[in-house]
């Protein structure tokens, strides 16, 4: 049984899943959404982005939807991606896992605050 590629879930893949939680996006849209949600800390390059998309597609965590035009980016039709229910589930379990770390960090007084 070959080891699953997304175990543990790479940070880039997790960010892509999160970026698609709200709406379907094309590649560049994902990149910008990820940059937004990480305050500009993570800027996915094309290679990393499409490698991750490739893997996520294979694992059926995201799916391709029809080609559409992005009104903001001219008339070229782009491939959009959508989060599948498996993808949503995985993103949730990863978020839970990270939340667990946060609780530990707070218990050890490394992190202050009560939002977890």
């Amino acid at each position: 049984m070959p080891k699953r590629k997304l175990d543990p879930l790479p940070s880039a893949a997790f960010q892509i899943l999160l970026s698609l939680a709200g709406e379907d996006l094309h590649g560049y849209g994902i990149m910008r959404q990820v940059a937004d949600q990480t305050d500009g800390r993570v800027r996915l390059g094309p290679g990393t982005l499409y490698s991750s998309i490739q893997t996520l597609l294979e694992e059926k965590l995201i799916e391709e939807v029809d080609l559409r035009e992005d009104p903001k980016l001219g008339h070229k039709r782009r491939r959009y991606y959508r989060l599948t229910s498996a993808g949503r589930k995985l993103a949730r379990s990863e978020a839970d896992r990270l939340a667990g770390f946060l609780r530990v960090a707070r218990a050890k007084k490394i992190l202050r605050g009560d939002y977890v």
Binding site: Y28, M31, L44, G45, P46
Partner: protein
């Protein structure tokens, strides 16, 4: 333009990835390039892209299609090597060409890096004082076992050079002549030597010599035929010579400091023997900037002795300044202190009298052996010439090393005497024959002999 560059870089990815996502990747690049204009945004864009290439290309090549994993897992038998085939198409000629150019670049980079690293290793080895004829009473000749300095097999392998051809020989001769003209004390003699070297080369006297060491010896002989100067020497080293052979290397200095700390600055024994005989066993003349307090304390603890025995049988030299510092205790007035490395300067006089010192008129014995070298020989030679001490033991090793070392290339360097110090004793110094003791006994018997001599002398008084 930049889009074309990125399109080229995309070719680094496996064709399967390019076919699936090449257009989209390029489109993403276009989108970013359009949105991120200006110097800093585009700089950031390119940095992102390069980092991205570095991370994702290896990942893509390590990537195995799920179908293929299944196939190879089924077919694979224990102990039988298997290959994963990532692509079923044969590589394009362009890809092959690109691959070979890339391999060449990587190989040559490795080669350069290796050569560079080996150069540093060689520097370490030579800096530890193994270079014959290098400058002075190197403190690194002090007896400190240091495993880091052992030349390894790799050092030697890298230092290996092919045989000398006429062009190599000419280059070395040019280097020798340039150094002679620049550094030799007597310009006329330097010119004569240069002419002689070139005449020998023209006559073909050098043609048969292809071995580096033999060539170095031959040129040394040719130079000395003009001027019989034993400090003038051409040296060949199989290991690459350091770029700066005259200064100690920082790491060496740190090791030296540590060693001095651990060994009490090589003051091995300081004690009063029966009969109030002060005995000092000193195994080097360490750097006074580190060891002056210990030296002063040692001498102070012997201050009330009636006789002093300096045991230099295991002393392989060190700093001329420490030699002079120790000698200062033996005189009640500044005494000319001959150092073959320097012209007469203030330091050529001992800093006598030392305040509070009572040893200036006490009998002194110095124990010597064939292992007594360099700076220790200077001490022996000078106290003997000044008739200040009785030397007991063996003839010393004979290592004056008074030339200054000049690097010619990676393997050749030369020692050139740059100063002509005044030897007040108008005799040859100890470079060739060592210093003869006054009382010749085996090194092992030197201490009891000196003690006996001291006791006899004290009883007479």
């Amino acid at each position: 333009m930049s889009e074309k560059i990125y399109a080229l870089l995309l070719r680094l990815y496996p064709s399967r990835f390019r076919e699936a996502y090449g257009d989209e990747a390029l489109q993403l690049f276009r989108d970013r390039a359009r949105d991120e204009k200006g110097f800093f945004p585009s700089l950031r864009l390119w940095l992102d892209l390069l980092a991205d290439l570095a991370i994702s290309i290896p990942r893509q090549y390590g990537y195995v299609q799920p179908a293929l994993i299944g196939v190879s897992a089924q077919r694979r038998l224990a102990g039988v090597p298997a290959f994963h085939v990532l692509q079923d198409e044969s590589p394009r000629p362009g890809a092959l060409l690109f691959g070979s150019v890339l391999s060449l670049v990587v190989l040559s980079t490795f080669w350069i890096l290796l050569g560079h690293g080996a150069g540093h290793a060689g520097m370490r080895v030579i800096a530890s004082g193994q270079l014959p004829g290098s400058s002075g009473f190197s403190q690194h000749q002090a007896p400190q076992p240091n495993p880091h300095n052992a030349p390894s097999a790799t050092d030697r392998a890298v230092g290996e050079v092919s045989k000398l051809d006429p062009a190599d020989r000419h280059r070395v001769i040019d280097g020798v002549i340039a150094n002679l003209k620049k550094h030799y004390i007597d310009p006329e003699v330097a010119q004569k030597m240069a002419d002689e070297l070139l005449a020998h080369e023209k006559r073909g006297d050098d043609d048969a010599v292809t071995d580096g060491e033999a060539f170095a010896n031959l040129l040394t002989k040719q130079m000395r035929d003009v001027s019989p100067d034993r400090h003038l020497v051409l040296i060949y080293s199989r290991d690459p010579l350091p770029q700066n052979a005259t200064g100690p290397i920082v790491g060496e200095l740190a090791r030296y400091r540590e060693a001095m700390k651990q060994q009490n600055c090589t003051f091995e024994k300081v004690e009063i023997l029966p009969g109030n005989i002060g005995y000092l066993k000193l195994n080097s003349f360490p750097d006074p900037s580190l060891c002056r307090p210990i030296a002063m304390a040692a001498m102070a603890s012997l201050n009330h002795a009636d006789v002093i025995i300096f045991d230099l049988r295991d002393n392989r030299g060190g700093e001329p300044a420490m030699v002079a510092l120790m000698a200062a205790y033996l005189f009640d007035h500044p005494e000319y202190w001959y150092n073959p490395r320097e012209n007469t300067t203030e330091q050529s006089w001992t800093l006598s009298p030392v305040p509070g010192n009572r040893l200036a008129d006490k009998p002194v014995y110095v124990l010597t052996s064939a292992r007594t070298l360099s700076g220790a020989e200077q001490f022996c030679y000078d106290v003997k010439m000044l008739k200040r001490a009785t030397l007991v033991g063996e003839t010393t090793g004979g290592a004056a090393h008074s030339g200054v070392f000049h690097r010619i290339d990676d393997h050749f360097g030369m020692g050139i005497p740059e100063t002509r110090p005044i030897n007040p004793f108008s005799k040859s110094d100890w470079a060739e024959n060592g210093v003869e003791p006054d009382v010749k006994v085996k090194a092992a018997d030197a201490l009891p002999t000196a003690v006996k001599l001291a006791e006899t002398k004290l009883h007479k008084n």
